[in-house]
């Protein structure tokens, strides 16, 4: 038996992990490389749609279910059959999870490439407009093209966490999500300290100078967007597995583009700990608002959710105007350790003498 408070925290952690992943991916793009990706939704929805469309179909094909049933029309029957298989076998479940996540990341990278291609050589505002428009289009296709993820009704996703059974499912899902989030955090942190991280900052701070030093700006931007979109897609894919279904309507611009922006800007762009703080503050606050929503609702002549958007938009603007660097500002680039520097100094001096 898991007490209510603990369920609340586990639920919070699962959601937090997903938003940490998404906002870290935005931090690579916006914080380090200075690319205003207003189409974060594209990558997240891409990952989620991939999970809705592919792993279930593949498993159904392997177990010979596609001959008997139509994947969209008889989705519930197929999921019931697959649920039995996956529920009995942790190995298949986890293999499916890992492979799906890798493929979803690949799909996200491809989407990021295609979506940014028309505007990748232009000024960043054109890129931002294009990415935003592409994200809207992907959502619209998911909504209207029924064969992909069931259109308006949505589709169920094979559940890789089912084998642990009952109440522990959420705990397992949360720990998997947190593990992925930690791996991605370490990756992004290493990336930011590596030569490419410094190159990205150079590009962000002064494109002309970076170009003069022989950096290919277009290629760098393209790579950054592909990596960012791949990570964003992992976030979307994990959310699809967590919620157990994918509906095109559930992926909107507010949640998957605007919220990550708020987290990154308020927490502190180009600082992964700032982003971590931003995501934690934001997700906790939101959870609390939802928790106390019923207490607040009778006093308002409208839905509480709009008040929340209003507060978030205002908070973002206030931070932009009064503290544009965020709560935890960007730190100077990490250099080599003092000992190594002294060693190099000795070597240089020895040669000079």
């Amino acid at each position: 038996m898991i007490p209510l408070a603990l369920t609340f925290i586990i639920d919070l952690l699962a959601l937090l992990g997903i938003f940490i992943i998404i906002s870290l991916s935005l931090n690579i793009e916006f914080g380090y490389a200075g690319i205003p990706n207003f189409g974060k939704l594209l990558a997240v929805a891409g990952g989620a749609f991939f999970i809705g469309a592919v792993p279930g179909r593949f498993l159904a094909y392997i177990y010979g279910l596609l001959g008997k049933y139509d994947y969209i029309d008889d989705n519930a029957k197929i999921m019931y059959a697959l649920g039995k298989v996956l529920g009995a076998d942790p190995f298949i479940s986890m293999t499916m999870l890992v492979i799906s996540l890798i493929l979803a990341a690949a799909a996200g990278a491809i989407l990021g490439f295609i979506a940014s291609y028309p505007a990748i050589r232009l000024r960043e505002d054109y890129l931002a407009i294009t990415l935003l428009a592409m994200a809207e289009i992907l959502r619209m296709i998911g909504y209207n093209y029924r064969d992909l993820i069931g259109g308006t009704v949505g589709i169920s996703v094979p559940d890789p966490f089912r084998w642990i059974g009952g109440e522990l499912r959420l705990a397992l899902a949360a720990s998997v999500i947190m593990a992925v989030a930690i791996i991605i955090f370490i990756y992004v942190e290493l990336l930011s300290r590596s030569p490419i991280g410094r190159t990205l900052r150079a590009m962000r701070d002064n494109e002309v100078v970076a170009e003069a030093y022989g950096k290919d700006i277009v290629k760098l931007r393209m790579k950054t967007l592909m990596i960012g979109s791949a990570i964003g897609a992992i976030g979307g894919a994990l959310y699809a597995f967590l919620s157990g279904s994918v509906t095109a309507l559930g992926y909107d611009r507010v949640v998957y583009t605007f919220w990550p922006w708020v987290m990154v800007v308020i927490g502190g762009a180009a600082n992964n700990f700032g982003v971590l703080l931003g995501a934690t503050l934001f997700v906790t606050l939101r959870k609390l608002i939802i928790f106390y929503k019923s207490n607040l609702q009778p006093y308002l002549p409208f839905d509480v959710v709009w008040l929340e958007y209003l507060l978030l938009g205002t908070a973002l603007l206030i931070v932009l105007i009064y503290r544009p660097e965020g709560i935890i500002p960007e730190k100077p680039t990490h250099t080599l350790g003092k000992k190594r520097l002294e060693k190099i100094k000795e070597l240089v001096e020895a040669k000079e003498v």
Partner: protein, 305 residues
């Protein structure tokens, strides 16, 4: 007898032209794409709703009110949010984020208004259309005459303002070179603020006419913004005539393209309508990133040589 598809195309492209003229105008002044532009129009669709359903008056009164409200909303964005950021030397990426934040505020205000109207006056405020409240002139819906007339009136008066009046010339100077314009005594901030007011006003006026022809919902701004950006980019984002031309072109292509495709291929294609402006935008960005007006200038130069 004209097929209704052309009427659709005429109304939509004229309203889109009004919206993209405004977006182009603001882009020219502050060099930032205003992501809240669609919400300016979404806000004023509710003025029309209030006038028609609650006050029960002529829906065309909302054009003037919409112009003022849209202008004021845009002016607040410029004066309260963008101006302090610009003064501090913020990059245009920060300005873009600010417009997105403002868009979010407007979006929530629109939804609050919609919920409030719905609960207080028991009228439907989501997915509503007011086509039946329009008048008929010469056996045509009135908006079929009003929208093109307004588009032509607006582009003509903007042309006169920018070329024939002292203030308009000052505006152009401030857009061309703010520092130099400041030196010769032009109040750059005032000209920018007026540009933003006009831009927001045009969006508001277009938004006020929208419910007479299209199904409206609080998120109509997000639906329109792709078309508005496509139209402005096709126009080149450098002069208002380009914005006008782009709006007409994208509007026509969107409505007629979807119409003909659904006649020939099948009606399943109709929901994919937003792909048309996006595709045109992508092609423009790839082959003529300066837009239509950029192309024509380049061609002219080639002929001169």
């Amino acid at each position: 007898m004209m097929p209704p598809m052309f009427r659709d195309a005429a109304v939509f492209s004229c309203l889109l032209a009004l919206l993209s003229i405004g977006l182009t105008l603001t882009y020219m002044t502050t060099k930032v794409p205003n992501f809240a532009h669609g919400s300016f129009a979404a806000m004023t669709t509710y003025i029309t709703l209030i006038l028609v359903k609650i006050l029960k008056v002529n829906p065309y009164f909302s054009v003037g009110l919409g112009f003022i409200l849209g202008g004021v909303i845009a002016l607040i964005l410029y004066q309260v949010i963008l101006k302090p950021l610009l003064d501090r030397g913020a990059s245009y990426i920060v300005l873009m984020i600010a417009t997105i934040g403002y868009d979010m505020i407007l979006y929530s205000l629109i939804n609050i208004l919609a919920d409030y109207l719905n609960r207080t006056y028991k009228i439907s405020t989501r997915l509503y259309i007011l086509k039946s409240y329009d008048f008929r002139v010469f056996h045509q819906p009135c908006i079929f005459i009003v929208a093109p007339a307004m588009a032509i009136l607006v582009i003509t008066s903007l042309h006169l303002l920018l070329t024939k009046t002292r203030f308009g010339i000052a505006m152009r100077a401030a857009i061309e070179n703010p520092a130099l314009a400041g030196v010769v005594g032009i109040n750059v901030n005032l000209t920018y603020a007026v540009s933003w007011f006009i831009a927001g006003g045009l969006a508001g006026a277009a938004g006020a006419l929208l419910p007479l022809w299209l199904m409206c919902n609080p998120d109509i701004g997000a639906r329109l913004i792709v078309s508005i950006f496509a139209a402005s980019i096709v126009g080149g984002l450098t002069n208002i005539y380009g914005g006008f031309l782009g709006g007409i072109l994208i509007g026509m292509a969107e409505v007629l393209g979807t119409g003909y495709l659904s006649l020939t291929i099948g009606t399943w294609i109709a929901p994919y309508r937003p792909i048309i402006p996006l595709a045109i935008m992508a092609i423009t960005l790839l082959f003529a990133p300066r837009g239509l007006t950029g192309i024509s200038l380049r061609f002219l130069r080639r002929f001169k040589r």
